[in-house]
Symmetry: C2
Subunit: 484 residues, 2 copies
């Protein structure tokens, strides 16, 4: 998934939630099984399941088969490899046997980003290496490690509670095309909506604020994307002969973009903020409590000044406020030197990040109406919207979120804070199709180097993931179980 | 040179200047010599002097030599081929012998645009064809025909006045790189400024309004060009992770361009209009008297609506008002589909057409100061200006202009109206370096197809050019001669 902000200072200032006592039996069980767990994970990491590379398609299939077999060994009574038009996904299900138990669906992916030694890796990206408490390999954090901690987690849950099945109806969906943009995922979810039905979705494909700051992500922004093309003269015309007397589509596209934001850097499209769920005072406090260092964040953003909607902090701007950004703009002559033309056409690619309460269809209507109003006489416009993603937001008082926070707090023996993601992801498809809230349980940290050379996972955090998983299912069943 | 507006209706409504009586002796002389004149011109047109094609460099040199020889035959006592770093120019001089005579420099060019039969020509572009009173060939109108009419013109002047030298000190400079942007012309003029010194420059490389509407062009716009590059993040960054919280250079470039014009389509750069010579009421009346049809003009402009500075007509906008146009804009992802980035940089190429009273150096300073004010925090800007061209404008009451109008009026036996050119050209270099006013004497019409297939010149108009030239030198000497 997308990057998450860096810029944390050395320590958190204040408890956010009290952490219940950890369970020494769980820790003992994990300690006893960690060697085999790491051996298994390493075996999986050796499969170069690079979904964007057609020549690796057999590896992606092998990765799915490997995982399916391992989930069977783990004890899942139902394990299936689901084909798609692209790479296969793995589905597993382990019913609780308890009528009152909630159903939880875990999401992850088994495909990985491309990687090659010559990109700057210190070792073969597909030959895992343990060094200084870190496991280096492509996929160690994104996302095989984070999928895999659930296997030992559920075993620890059973072993330490004496159960033969999890306290919740546990389902897993592990897709094989996330690094390729999940082109077939929504169709897959729609096709198998009955099988995937759940009371909550747990996405294990995100991260925490920092090694010493365990956090739970409570939402991701949605996305609407469009391309606007403006057409002026039927062909490029001479800017001397005609300049000053006809509308220039490059000027028009610039004026359109300039009209996107007002002087407070708020999006000026009428209706854009309709329904936006504003941050509560408590949420703003929680954001402000994170040990955020703007200079460090700017360094990560490779940027030279913070800039955004007036009245909001940087974290609020990237996590909780909707945006309109230009991804590309073009028109006329862009080569060396000059060419005295009025271009025939110009275009802009815009993306809108959406927050809870915003509806991509409404945004499309609002943008179309706004754009039509901006286009001057003599210019014709064409707007194309591409696939939209809805925002996800888990209310802080949601009982399943409380369970995740308690389980993580026990594992980390530390207060748990809240973050969000500025990006967008396939989790939204699960939310939309299944009608279930999406929660995020990830133990990766910014230094893990997703999509970069020398990707790694911190072993200590990986095992905290196992431990969180071990606590989570019992907590969810106890605090959120249906009346029998 | 640049295109000129079309859109004339069938007839002019009102006399602009009274036309003096034509001279039957001149007409008889021209009639007697027209066949040889056309044979000579055709011979010149057979030389494919395409300056942009390196493989035609020998042809361009041959064209210069051919013209030099012909000017010698015409009677010019001084004829020289001047080399440049590119193609050679031809210089000729014919002193009047009269101390009171003004000195006039005629400008034209002997190179032509590329042309090939397969571009849509009905006949070989370098094998002139006479058909329906038109001579078809590349260069027939632009510009060999218009240079060449002066040769027979000066012979007719001498033959009908009994003189052995022209009534003015007559000089010609015929360059060989106009169709390549005259890259070495200014340096050539500076090098030979003493030889080229003149009281007035007559440019024969423009056109008239229409076959039935003889006009004299009284000015061309100047040109200042720049490229502005804006730099944001050090590399493209993820618009989900960082969007809404840092400045986007594509948005910034759009806001910059949008700030170029105010709501009245006036250029909003402070100081831009400093010194602009406003149209007099008489000039606006003269523009309004031209038989202009906006729908036909829009058709020529391949545009769908007129748009420009409030309070001015289309002709005023293209001829007499300064402009700011976007020639190109670009930044970020412009390929198919979408890419959720905040681009690292964006750029815009701007050109400013300037009118009398505007100084390109002042415009550069004004644009630099304005742009610096527009750039938001976190964005770095770079502005590069390329070579500028000054505007030319001949006052309507200039005695040399009055001579051109009278000579043309006698030749056409018709009132002469005034136009301007919206484009810019090397004539400005002559004005700047020589400090002489620039006048325009052209007999081409919009249908001649400059730079297009089937370029032609109307024989009747070509001979009116000869006749105008025959009347002009005597008129100039009589009405504008120095006190002896």
């Amino acid at each position: 998934m997308s990057n998450r902000p860096r810029g944390m200072s050395a320590r958190a200032d204040r408890l956010v939630t009290m952490s219940p006592t950890p369970d020494s039996a769980v820790r003992t069980y994990i300690e006893q099984h960690r060697a085999a767990f790491l051996d298994d994970l390493s075996e999986w990491l050796r499969i170069p399941s690079v979904s964007v590379r057609p020549d690796h398609a057999p590896d992606v299939r092998r990765s799915a088969d490997w995982l399916a077999a391992k989930l069977g060994e783990t004890g899942f009574p139902i394990v299936e490899v689901w084909p798609t038009e692209g790479a296969p996904a793995v589905f597993a299900e382990w019913p609780s046997g308890d009528d009152a138990a909630p159903t939880v669906l875990v999401y992850g992916h088994h495909d990985v980003q491309p990687a090659a030694r010559e990109d700057g890796w210190d070792s073969d990206p597909f030959e895992p290496v343990l060094r200084d408490g870190r496991l280096y390999a492509r996929g160690a954090a994104d996302d095989k490690g984070q999928v895999f901690f659930h296997t030992l987690g559920v075993r620890a849950h059973l072993a330490t509670t004496g159960r033969t099945a999890p306290a919740v109806n546990l389902k897993l969906i592990v897709e094989g095309e996330e690094e390729s943009g999940s082109p077939h995922f929504r169709a897959l979810v729609e096709r198998h909506a009955d099988r995937l039905a759940a009371d909550a979705v747990i996405v294990s494909d995100t991260g925490m604020w920092a090694e010493d700051t365990p956090t739970v992500c409570t939402g991701m922004r949605g996305l609407a994307e469009c391309e606007i093309r403006l057409y002026g003269p039927d062909q490029d015309i001479h800017s001397g002969s005609f300049g000053g007397a006809v509308a220039n589509p490059a000027t028009a596209v610039a004026r359109l973009v300039a009209a996107l934001h007002n002087e407070h850097a708020r999006v000026a499209v009428p209706g854009f903020y309709d329904g936006v769920v504003e941050l509560t005072d408590r949420e703003r406090e929680l954001f402000a409590e994170l040990p955020f260092d703007e200079q460090r964040w700017l360094h990560t953003a490779k940027s030279h000044a913070a800039h955004g909607e007036a009245g909001h902090s940087t974290l609020e701007r990237i996590w909780a406020r909707p945006t309109a950004e230009v991804n590309g703009i073009g028109g006329g002559y862009q080569g060396p030197g000059s060419k005295t033309i009025i271009p025939s056409s110009a275009m802009v690619k815009l993306s809108f990040r959406l927050v809870a309460g915003q509806d991509p269809d409404h945004i499309e209507k609002a943008v179309r109406a706004w754009a039509a109003d901006q286009v001057p006489a003599g210019i014709r416009s064409e707007i194309t919207f591409s696939g939209a993603t809805r925002p996800c937001l888990t209310p802080l008082d949601h009982p399943a979120l409380q369970s995740v926070v308690r389980a993580m707090g026990r594992a980390f023996d530390s207060p748990v804070r809240f973050t969000r993601e500025g990006g967008s992801g396939p989790a939204a498809d699960l939310q939309d199709v299944l009608g279930a809230p999406v929660l995020f349980l990830g133990i990766s940290v910014p230094s893990d180097g997703w999509h970069a050379p020398n990707e790694k996972v911190e072993l200590a955090l990986l095992l905290k993931g196992v431990e969180t998983s071990a606590y989570l299912w019992g907590d969810l069943a106890a605090s959120w179980g249906h009346a029998p």
